[in-house]
Amino acid sequence: MTDSENAEPAENNENNERDGSGAANARVPLHERRRPWWHWGRLAGSRLRLAVIIGVAGAVVGALLGGAGVAWRAGAGPFADDRACWGAFGEDDVAALFDGKRDIKTSEVPITTDRIGSQGPSGTCRLTSPRGRRITVQAHQLDTGFGGAGDRWADEFLSARLTPLGDGLLGMASDTRAWLAVPDGCIGRPSRLDVSGGPTVIDMETGWTVYDDDVDTKARDALARAVVKLVNRYMADEGCTGRIADPVRRMPEPPRFLVEKKDGMCGVKGLRLPSTYQHEGRHRPLLTRGDGPVRTCDRGVLFDHPGLRLMTIEDPRLAVLYDRLSRDGAKEPVRTGAHGEQDGYGFIRDDMGLFQAECQTGQVTFLVRADDGEHPDDIRALLPRYVAAEADRVGCGPLRVTLPAEG
């Protein structure tokens, strides 16, 4: 039964074949007439034409495939990569930084390392909206010589307006600034033995604001997420495993102006507020919220520059920024009790006092700095008490510093 059914079409085929060869000289062979109009045999007419058609069609298909392949590999044409900032941001990520606007232009300098590697990796990316808002993204290694880029970096990026990203990450964010260090497992940990041993960070800046204590939480969260995306992408490009998770859910609310008690300057118990800074208004203090790596208390901020800053840097990877300064910042070194240099280094000047302590966790920076040298007595009064109180808080106590005699 099955056999006969199968045999029948084969027989038909055979018939066709025979018919075809029998009518070979006819103008339109019978078997061709039976074929539909689109059959290659009818369209081509002869073997030569068929060969030509196949050749041309093959070349065209080949060219298309090849072109598409090249475009795909090169990321051009329909395969163009519209990811911004070294491939870290998709279109939605950029829109999230510009209130959902999608007409953002981007330009970038790739992240590269100079020939001898002395400056660490660096690169820049700028996102610009046609309405004039712009965001500058920088990848760079912080300089240990000058508090990280001539103090300006520390002024802006360690400001009390920024909130730590938490979970041991070396990074912070506000609505105008965000930064995050590339994890040390990826490109090596900063060391004070290094010439330029600061951490390598990616930071973002969106301009400045006069609303000192009014940080837009939504904008801050967007920047925090963005800076994590940048670092994750950089790590992936460097071939490092590990991914930093979205930091936003564990970040505390942005800071508000602090209500100070007279003997609780910057929320530090027992630290008396000098009379110079007692008047209200411009000198209201803003204090970092959340746990480490930095606790900054800024007051009188003008163009991102604080009138008076009290800062503790708990994370040794960041405290390294003040290592060199603490050893050669002034002619008057600060001393500690019986063990002398073993507890750390520091100095006092008319405009600032610094102590770089050797704690169990590593170096910790304690800094008191005014924007002018007009109140040297205040600096002298503040430094020892600030160091003592903060050292206890971060687990580095007891730490008593003695100042050189006035002269």
């Binding site: 055979e14 940990r189 169990q360 106590g397």
Partner: protein, 366 residues
């Protein structure tokens, strides 16, 4: 004849079809870099796959020098909460002077509770948390230095008498020459890679033992690395007040390990011969603490000490409450030197750092 021709045609069609399918499949495998019959081996209860990352699992490791990779494993079961697997690499070559050079690497993963005896258990935990070990990422109760690793498993895997089960990883890697033996790199790929290997094998072992949590464990975040190398020629060890060594410090070196709220390590050893002077360790992470349950006895180790503890010949251990959780300090030291003052200083300095009342007599609180 007719039948034959028909068969040939059909065969052509079939062959053509097969070729098309094969080419498409080949393109697919080439494009996605997958291959269904790769013949790759798996190790440690299927948790690790050949060529899946670190050097010791790579095909390349077998390319030369009569190299072979072997493995042995005993899986834990719901009845038997112990297991072990070993992956060994062995290669032989002839050196330029005609001598035979043998390279051996052995990675051992152990699933089970900590050793029973107090002294053994302290050595065991110091081996994984001491020296250069750093905490595992994502809050996992574990640590690794890139060669060894420990992970304490969730409560669901605790033994019937309430002891935690741990997964440990140990490495031996050496090159044996005719006249000497040198330690070598095991090809584990660093701490981050070890963290992933450990978590992968822990997840698989928990499945086998029937105590896997609803969500598998994960080590995704980057690990922090140790800030420093060992230091020699010092007077104060590990930046801890009271660990002062005067002239003695010239022949010693110290290594600061992890310094976190969960654990802290400081080891001092002789520069020559790597002899131990002392290993000091603080443990406060609750799951690590649980590993040490029972080693501190029931009473204070000496007058003036807070909590419970034991001062034995070659170890000292004390546990006291610290802000609502038990904090254990221990010191392992051969009884050649008097180390009690160092232990006292370490206990109080560490307690003060994490914000607790002094543990040893004579300390002051914040």
């Amino acid at each position: 004849m007719k039948q034959l021709m028909g068969g040939a045609r059909r065969r052509t069609a079939l062959v053509g079809g097969a070729v098309v399918v094969l080419v498409a499949a080949g393109l697919g495998t080439w494009a996605t870099d997958t291959w269904p019959f790769d013949g790759k081996d798996t190790y440690c209860w299927g948790a690790w796959k050949e060529d899946s990352g670190p050097g010791f699992l790579s095909r390349k490791a077998l390319d030369e020098d009569n190299a072979s990779r072997t493995s042995k494993e005993t899986a834990p079961t719901p009845r038997r909460q112990r297991g072990q697997c070993t992956v060994s690499l062995h290669s032989e070559r002839v050196g330029s002077d005609g001598d035979q050079i043998v390279a051996e690497t052995k990675i051992t993963v152990t699933y089970g509770p900590a050793p029973e005896g107090a002294g053994q258990r302290l050595e065991w935990i110091d081996g994984y948390l001491g020296d250069r070990a750093m905490p595992l990422p994502d809050g996992l109760p574990g640590a690794t230095d890139g060669k060894q690793a420990l992970l304490v498993l969730p409560e669901g895997c605790d033994t019937r008498d309430g002891r935690p089960t741990a997964v440990t990883l140990d490495t031996v890697a050496r090159t044996v020459y005719s006249d000497t033996t040198m330690s070598a790199d095991a090809g584990l790929g660093g701490s981050q890679s070890v963290a992933r290997l450990l978590v992968a094998v822990a997840n698989r072992a928990m499945e086998k033992a029937g105590c896997a949590p609803a969500e598998p464990l994960e080590a995704v975040s980057p690990m922090t690395t140790l800030p420093e190398e060992d230091e020699s020629f010092f007077t104060r060890a590990c930046r801890i007040r009271g660990l002062e060594f005067g002239k003695e410090g010239r022949d010693l070196e110290y290594q600061v390990g992890a310094v976190t709220r969960d654990f802290q390590s400081c080891s001092v050893r002789t520069q020559r011969g790597d002899g131990r002077y002392f290993d000091a360790l603080m443990v406060a992470q609750p799951r690590f603490s649980a590993l040490l349950d029972g080693v501190t006895g029931t009473k204070a180790p000496a007058r003036g000490w807070r909590g419970t503890g034991v001062f034995a010949d070659d170890y000292k251990v004390v546990r006291a409450d610290c802000a609502g959780r038990p904090l254990t300090v221990l010191m392992l030291a051969p009884s050649l030197h008097e180390t009690t003052p160092y232990f006292t200083a370490f206990a109080n300095a560490v307690a003060r750092r994490v914000g607790c009342a002094p543990i040893a007599p004579g300390g002051s609180s914040r």
